[in-house]
């Protein structure tokens, strides 16, 4: 649904829909000081503000865990549902059919997505529900006080757990293998990139998986771990500098130098502008996406940016023959007319 753009004078600091940044905020966080999740919540606020989203047009979801608490830390004026552990995807999929003009964002964690929720995650991806799916990935179970998650790297040592003997699940690879149409990785310590990716994800016409490495300052922030601030800052290998330009601002693209960038036009006419770094990376090629993820794994890099995008794939909604807000269909159109009873009884022997 196109946002209503105000033509009347706006309060200071207000965006095109007349809302200030404060109006996108949520309650104060109860997570630990310095938790990467807080930084991500702030970037969700910033992205929604900059995208001129009306909070009433967004629905928030989460599963269970530290990450899943965060939907209360942004968009207080949006409906939200904190579901069951690992089962946010099914809840969200059913809920979004109530009104498919709404936008959806879900926040999950690595336990919630890659352990208990792996099945639902992959099936939601496969169905291409329009949904911003953020994984706040810290490689550890925080709320139960520091057990290994499925994304913890092999050899990781945790205080009460000893050494992790298993190779980690790569959420981006899992998403790709399930035919995700938007796969990105970022690092909570890189707020600008997080924000631009969230903005692009909101404009994507399908599932947008954002695997955001988000260090756990309490249980898992060893400098040599891939899920730490220190590692992220040192080993982050951005695929591109990323800017997102909403459809209505398209004209500003001319401000960019076309020689050093690649543009991906989204379904709604908005554009993701990827400024190339040292590689000629094409995020519309799945084989390239696999390659950079493999390469990063081999070299112990934290590769970030927009890894894969297919803006053309039909979304879940397009596979159904619906064109209205179903939860507003009045009773008289839901119950067939009395005359139809004859047809019904004739159907039977």
């Amino acid at each position: 649904m196109a946002e209503q753009i105000l033509t009347t004078p706006r309060p200071a600091g207000a965006n095109l829909v007349g809302l200030t940044r404060n109006e996108y905020k949520g309650l104060a966080s109860t997570l630990c000081q310095g938790c990467g999740h807080n930084s991500i919540a702030n970037q969700i606020v910033a992205a929604c503000y900059e995208l001129n989203l009306v909070p009433e047009n967004v629905v928030k979801f989460s599963g269970i865990g530290c990450s899943s608490k965060s939907p209360t830390y942004f968009l207080s004026r949006s409906f939200g549902f904190n579901g069951l552990h690992g089962r946010m995807p099914s809840l969200a999929l059913g809920a979004m059919f109530g009104d498919t003009t709404l936008k959806a964002i879900g926040v999950s964690g690595d336990g919630d997505t890659a352990s208990i929720g792996m099945g639902q995650f992959k099936h939601m991806v496969r169905r291409n529900l329009p949904f911003v799916y953020i994984v706040e990935n810290n490689g550890v179970y925080g709320l139960t006080k520091g057990q290994f998650s499925a994304t913890a790297e092999k050899g990781l040592m945790l205080k009460k757990q000893g050494v992790n003997p298993f190779l980690p699940v790569d959420i981006c690879l899992e998403a790709l293998a399930s035919n995700a149409t938007f796969v990105a990785r970022s690092f909570a310590g890189d707020p600008k990139q997080v924000k631009e990716l969230i903005k692009a994800a909101f404009s994507h016409h399908g599932i947008a998986v954002l695997d955001i490495i988000s260090p756990c300052v309490t249980f898992h922030n060893h400098d040599d771990s891939i899920h730490s601030y220190a590692f992220g800052k040192e080993h982050e290998m951005p695929l591109q500098d990323i800017s997102f330009i909403p459809a209505r601002d398209e004209i500003t693209i001319e401000d960019y130098d076309p020689g050093s960038q690649r543009e991906v036009e989204m379904h709604d006419g908005s554009v993701v502008v990827l400024k190339k770094l040292d590689k000629d990376y094409d995020p519309t090629k799945r084989s390239e996406a696999y390659r950079v993820l493999e390469e990063a794994q081999t070299n112990n890099w934290l590769v970030t940016g927009l890894i894969y995008i297919n803006p053309e794939a039909p979304s879940l909604y397009e596979t159904y023959n619906i064109d209205e807000q179903l939860n507003r269909v009045p009773a008289e159109r839901l119950r067939p007319a009395p005359e139809s009873m004859a047809q019904l009884n004739d159907l039977l022997f």
Partner: protein, 613 residues
């Protein structure tokens, strides 16, 4: 070759048994016998004879024994009986066992190529030239195995008097008017009937004769009836996962929704069906859809119910309306997937960890499957809670004759839902305060908004964690207790919205009987049998949990109440005992579970055995 046996009953005209017997077809599953059996049943129905059919089938696709039993009963008693009066023995592997199962004086039809001895002298045996007639038919080679089953249709029709025109009508319905399929099957049936007329001499007493007892009735199965009910209940969202015996409920919705629920103007659908990846997801999706204001449902059986428990607990606690059909099969565990039971009652009642109670509807007939199909949504939305509907395999998957369905007699009840203008008005009338879980009417039911309501005050955050009246996170003891107490109060309110029991009282009843669901058929017949022995009884059939005042009144009025149900532990009796501890000693368990529905004879004998104690 074994020759037909001499008739044990010489004066068959005098001994005629008309419209009151059972026919059992013994076949191999996957052989296409279902078409033949259903055709015979439908033809009998069209002859105006009360008829029911039961499929006793294995959890398997091809090659294992399966039995289909048709009961004709002029008095309209259509529950299961143990006696086999006529057996059509098409499965060589169960030949001896099938022969043994016949009542004295019974009839045995068998393919003449089976070279096994007919070991009984007290029955009539008719050989059928199945191979010969199949060979001579002009159907394609690859269909000959299927057509073989049409031979017994023709022979049986000729020998007991089924009208071939009615058989033709049944085929026409089954093959949806496709002339080639109808004619190739019918030609085999006709040839077999002609063969029987020329080659067999009737020496058994069993006959069908036309009646006028099915006028105004239709034939359907409970899963189709439930699906049609849901269509008229305005179902908007169904998520499901395949499971026997519930799959055909969702599949029926897939068939009926496009017929009845496309917008006539736009041609667009007013519903969504998703085949989920498992039951965990099916219930998650359904709860999500119910939360956002859709009339939402899922359908499953016991193992699926087990998987759904956690989400149902969340839906109970967060007060999300959703309808869950449980077409019961035999558990625990994988159990007997293709056999019927009433064993999920206590599970669906308690369901979640923590304190929880669930509203349950229990249909006993096709009509009630349809009626509860639409009513369940009204109750769920009115009470903002999951509504469990307990059907079973016997109701759900077997064909039953039924009075035609009636159009819903009440307007749709969407419950206490606030859209933008409603919320604005609510705020004006309530000092600007609205809380998602605030009980302003004193009935335990709060007002809800749903996602998509654009009023700036509409949004709230739904959580399975402790919350206050405004759905804010809270670990405060008073908030928790107040919230849970209100849910308990809401469950009391539910009593006024659920269907009332069906009560049948007579003069001078010796005791009361309480039953539920598909056991009703056998209980009704058992009452008749008891009546014949001068034991009049009163009867109450429970249609819902929580129980309504009528149940209490019935129990209070009877010193002794037999609770009849198809499970091991007497689960309905358990719930009645919990509900009415003051009457606990009045309830006597008459329950039994072996995978088959109860018979009237068994119930009568079980009650008499208790009476003699």
């Amino acid at each position: 070759m074994t020759l037909p046996q001499p008739a044990p009953i010489m004066d068959i005209e005098k001994q005629r048994v008309v419209n009151d017997f059972c026919i059992t077809f013994s076949t191999v599953n996957g052989s296409g016998s279902a078409t033949s059996n259903t055709t015979i049943m439908r033809a009998l129905f069209r002859m105006g004879i009360p008829v029911s059919g039961k499929n006793i089938f294995p959890s398997n696709i091809q090659g294992l024994p399966t039995w289909y039993t048709i009961r004709v009963n002029k008095d309209g008693y259509l529950g299961r009986v143990d006696e086999r009066h006529i057996v059509v023995a098409m499965n060589v592997n169960t030949f001896a066992r099938d022969l043994e199962s016949l009542v004295p004086g019974g009839v045995f039809f068998y393919p003449d190529d089976v070279k096994l001895p007919i070991t009984r002298q007290d029955i009539t045996a008719y050989p059928m030239p199945v191979k010969k007639l199949t060979r001579e038919s002009d159907v394609a080679q690859n269909l000959k195995d299927y057509i073989a089953n049409m031979v017994y249709v023709g022979v049986l029709a000729q020998m007991i008097g089924i009208d071939l025109q009615k058989i033709y009508q049944a085929l026409d319905y089954h093959f949806k008017g496709k002339a080639k399929a109808i004619d190739s099957n019918f030609s085999v049936i006709k040839a077999a009937a002609d063969w029987a007329a020329s080659n067999l001499v009737k020496t058994d007493p069993y006959y069908v004769e036309p009646m006028n007892a099915t006028e105004g009735f239709v034939m359907t199965d409970g899963n189709a009836a439930a699906a049609l009910g849901a269509v008229y209940g305005g179902v908007q969202f169904l998520a499901w996962y395949p499971i026997t015996p519930a799959s055909s409920l969702a599949e029926s919705l897939n068939e009926f929704l496009p017929m009845f629920r496309k917008d006539p103007v736009t041609g667009k659908d007013t519903y969504v069906v998703v085949q989920a990846e498992d039951e965990l997801a099916a219930i998650g999706m359904s709860v999500g859809a119910g939360w956002s204001g859709l009339r939402s449902m899922t359908s499953t059986s016991g193992p699926g119910i087990s998987l759904m428990s956690e989400y149902l607990g969340l839906a109970y606690f967060t007060e999300v309306p959703v309808v869950v059909w449980d077409v019961q099969r035999v558990g625990p565990s994988t159990g007997l997937p293709t056999r019927t039971s009433q064993g999920d009652l206590t599970q669906v009642y308690f369901h979640s960890h923590g304190d929880a109670q669930f509203v349950i509807l229990i249909p006993s007939s096709m009509k009630e499957c349809f009626e509860f199909g639409w009513k369940a949504f009204d109750i769920a939305e009115r009470l903002q809670t999951p509504v469990m509907v307990l059907s079973d395999l016997d109701l759900g998957m077997n064909q039953w004759m039924s009075e035609k369905f009636d159009y819903p007699d009440q307007p749709m009840d969407r419950g206490k839902i606030l859209w933008e203008d409603d919320l604005e008005a609510f705020l004006q009338n309530h000092n600007g305060v609205w809380g998602r879980y605030q009980d302003v009417d004193g009935d335990g039911i709060a007002y809800r908004t749903v996602a998509g309501n654009r009023h700036p005050r509409a949004a709230y955050f739904t959580r399975g964690t402790g919350h206050d009246e405004f759905s804010r996170y809270s670990e405060e003891a008073p908030n928790w207790e107040k919230g849970l107490d209100r849910l308990a109060q809401k469950f009391q309110t539910a009593r006024q919205y659920v269907p009332k029991p069906v009560v049948s009282c007579v003069d001078c009843a010796k005791f009361g009987i309480i039953s539920m669901g598909s056991t009703d058929l056998a209980v009704k017949e058992a009452r008749n049998l008891l009546e014949k022995e001068n034991i009049p009884t009163d009867y109450l059939r429970v249609c819902a949990v929580p129980f309504t005042d009528e149940v209490k009144e019935f129990v209070a009025n009877h010193e002794k109440v037999y609770v009849v149900e198809t499970n091991r532990d007497g689960q309905l009796r358990q719930l009645l005992t919990l509900e009415y501890p003051e009457f606990a000693t009045r309830f006597i368990k008459i329950s039994h579970l072996d995978g088959l529905s109860l018979t009237a004879k068994w119930i009568k004998q079980a009650i008499l055995a208790e009476e003699e104690k």
